[in-house]
Symmetry: D2
Subunit: 302 residues, 4 copies
């Protein structure tokens, strides 16, 4: 034998649950797709097909529905945590559990000017996500938003970038800015009000995207991150990924027309992809940085 | 030669256009994907590679952007009609033009309680569609909605169906009803207010879906159709397609629990698929039918 | 009531079946996704929620697996026909049945230079299809191939097309030709050797695509159709749909280089879409046409 | 300011290149989709919209085509490495470059019993991948295969797993085993014959999958990994991800039939997901382990 196994994990993916909570006057709809991965003493299954310590992935699936049955299900973060803990508690040889949860967006149908008590319409491709990673000693909860697709038709520029022999892109002072915001954040201080954080983060994403005058996708991303960290003290760190879904001005010159910055080719690919991670700064260090950055900042670019 | 060509057509698909209409106080965003198909005297291209009558599909693509440049673009039905007419007018040997248009749903971002003048958020996978078919003698305009995904957690039953040796489905008096409504309609009487029809149809779909007590997907579909024909005299005929996106009660019995009609497996497939076409009835025939159906109707099923 | 229902149908879609036929020396693998639609006396379900004549779509699903259990399953056309007949035979009020079948392509893994008796590798996105439509008086069987993706790097030209104010596409004597062939054909004369027809059609598609010198996608499509009709007398009519999956020469001029017809941008959209239907011609009419076309054919274009 | 940016990167994704290498007797077809991400001194773009150090992602796209023009392109690993080095060499403030490459599988069409010189057919959804990560001091090259979909109809068991209150899955001695193999490996010792490694890895995946008698997906994965490390001394480490694409026996009992292990429901979700990483072991340690594992191995399970 010339090889060693340095890592293994396994589990069930795409366990899809719909739970209805029937209040007297209205129903709550919980819909979620769950991926579970276990690590632990599973080597024998790999090396010799000895499954005596294997929790069948089918049993993991059962567990999701059984735990959901009597769970208040306030949010996917809490349910994911309880699910992860269940596996650690039930199986001594499990050392670590990773649970990923994706929740589609359902909106109540407006009916006679009020939200309907039990009828919903899809909120589209956007999903709320959560990730829970638990070991015997640690627990990490992350929350996220994926595919919040936004577009603005002005208040976006892109110029001043490097021009060299590989550059053909013209500078532009007024362009369409379209992207699909995805973000993921974690918490400090034992926070558990995940729904309110999610709402605030989402509102700020839309708010800052709409109102920020953008000199770069990078800059808008950073501005969104700063606003979120300022408004949500429970968030320790937030990471973003934003594709630049280009709208390319169609060249009307061959047809004797001028493009008045209003006719664009809608494209999916290739696309720019911008990422960043912002972290809450200890107050002392923040003050020092402020002083430094006062000096370093370039004069009045914006 | 032992074969004859009995039909041919060709064109450009997925021509994707973004047009911005810049009003002083706000911007309009028009985004559409367009498929064009031409029929006409194109046989020589097929039989001998003689392309002298071929309008290159690349030129069709150009035409979309060129026509869009000076077009008021009130709605996709009007733009599609003008596009179809353009090809008939410009090329004598074109006998028929089919244009299909798909418009994603963009919503204005709410900002300080008001719709933002130039920032938008995606309305999801739902699309507004239009189809225009023009020949030298005729013009047909259809409008549609695709993938309006809705779900209700109660007020849906399904029972009384055939029970035979192939039946295992239990009867159920309270089930989740989830579907993705797609519909397509045409017009009578030279109607051209396509935006208002679209809004009314969409509102009625949501309204009837939410409020109708359903004994079958079929019945809800029919009820939606009847309401639309009643409310929109400009519509001559409407066709529906609705998949039944099943939520299946998870069997908790092996785990010593009872499913209180609240824990479901979310499934995509297999799915029921229900279709129907409803047509406005000439008044005289409607009256006759009413009399007949008074007698024929089964007693008080609902 | 001001509306009448002019059409309805319903059924189950995406019923996915895997059947293994265990011969002593090797196994056969049958995998198919099935869509069923019934028409008949189902109006009451739509108009009043009276389901007494409704065959539940869940029962249709059951029927697929039950019928498959004792079926020799020589091909999807035969299974689809038997399935359609089953519904007509079992339910008097069913007037018409449509069954669509899609079979992915599984290839035997080569093992020691021989096809493995029970291990398979996916043949990709290409599918074999069948469509059966049966009424009390008629039966139509169609076969098809979808998404046979092919590409050739030369022996494809496109020139001589209309040049007008909407044309920017250059003429080209040597281009990449990439497409995804889809076709659908029906039969004459009570044919039932569907597997051999499928093999011959597929082989001819590849053969003609590879060897035909193309002046237009249209011409290659027509050539494939003619060869198939010539080689498969059992086929009455065949329809094609072929997207032109453009590879666009990248403009290297701004970088001081020339594109030696070797560097291309791979694109999915927009795409040309070419269709045609070819029909076997009665011999007498074919002769007359041959005489006419001798005269009409343009001189030596190819 | 209360936040600090702890990470950022950006680049262009889905740059799709087709390159034809025209030999006298045959053509080579290179098709690849490329994602580029740069790290470096880009903070000012985020914090103040100062783009003076930004390489526009459009320029990255241009660079792909320009470098490809005069590149021999022996394999995606080499092209990816040269692309990564280009950015480090050209831009002093770039500290790290990540390039991901995906190559679809094109097969030559067989023509008169020989591979055609310039006509190809798609090999399906399977892709060959490469990942290159370069800094000023380091270079890591990884190769991979994604979505090699395989199925076998026997020689797969699953039993002996934990049975507790969450278990309903029956033990089974003969089941269908279907999966989509994805793997990723890196190299030792300055290897550069990436094409031959890719071919050997792929062949072994099919070979071991077909011939291994499986007691668990885990065990088959491990066996594939061991064979690859044994046969490819250039590989240092290999990681696998294999979904278990379940085929579930359809319950025929309600219909008075028995399922002779031949009628299955084909499912996509939920699915088991199994992963592992195997590493080449230093010879000395391997010997020690061998001795230990002789004792530790459970008696004759297989």
């Amino acid at each position: 034998m010339s090889s060693m196994m340095t890592h293994n994990s396994y589990g069930k993916s795409r366990v899809r649950l719909t739970k209805v909570i029937r209040h007297p006057e209205h129903h709550e709809l919980k819909e979620v797709s769950i991926d579970i991965q276990l690590e632990g003493d599973f080597d024998a299954s790999y090396t010799s097909g000895d499954n005596s310590k294997v929790v069948a992935t089918d049993s993991m699936k059962n567990t999701v529905y059984v735990l959901a049955a009597n769970h208040p299900f306030p949010d996917i973060e809490t349910f994911g945590s309880d699910l992860a803990n269940h596996f650690l508690k039930t199986y001594d040889h499990v050392s670590s559990v990773e649970v990923e949860l994706q929740e589609p967006r359902w909106l109540r149908i407006e009916h006679n000017g009020k939200p309907h008590p039990h009828a919903f319409v899809s909120g589209g491709q956007e999903t709320r996500t959560a990730g829970v990673h638990c070991t015997r000693d640690s627990r990490r909860v992350e929350s996220g938003i994926e595919d919040l697709v936004v577009l603005k038709t002005t208040a976006s520029e892109f110029w001043g970038f490097i021009r060299d022999q590989f550059t053909t892109l013209p500078e532009v002072r007024d362009r369409i800015f379209a992207t699909s915001v995805s973000a993921r954040w974690n918490y400090q201080g034992g926070w558990s009000q995940y729904n309110s954080t999610h709402s605030r983060v989402r509102a700020l994403m839309l708010e800052v995207f709409a109102s920020h005058h953008s000199l770069a996708v990078q800059q808008t991303m950073h501005a969104i991150g700063e606003e979120i960290l300022a408004a949500c003290p429970e968030i320790a760190e937030i990471s973003f990924s934003m594709p630049n879904q280009h709208r390319i001005p169609f060249n009307l010159t061959p047809f004797g027309l001028e493009n008045g910055n209003d006719i664009f080719v809608t494209t999916d690919e290739p696309y720019g992809l911008i990422t960043a991670t912002l972290k809450r700064q200890p107050v002392s260090r923040a003050r020092a940085n402020e002083r430094r950055s006062d000096k370093a900042r370039p004069p009045a670019k914006m």
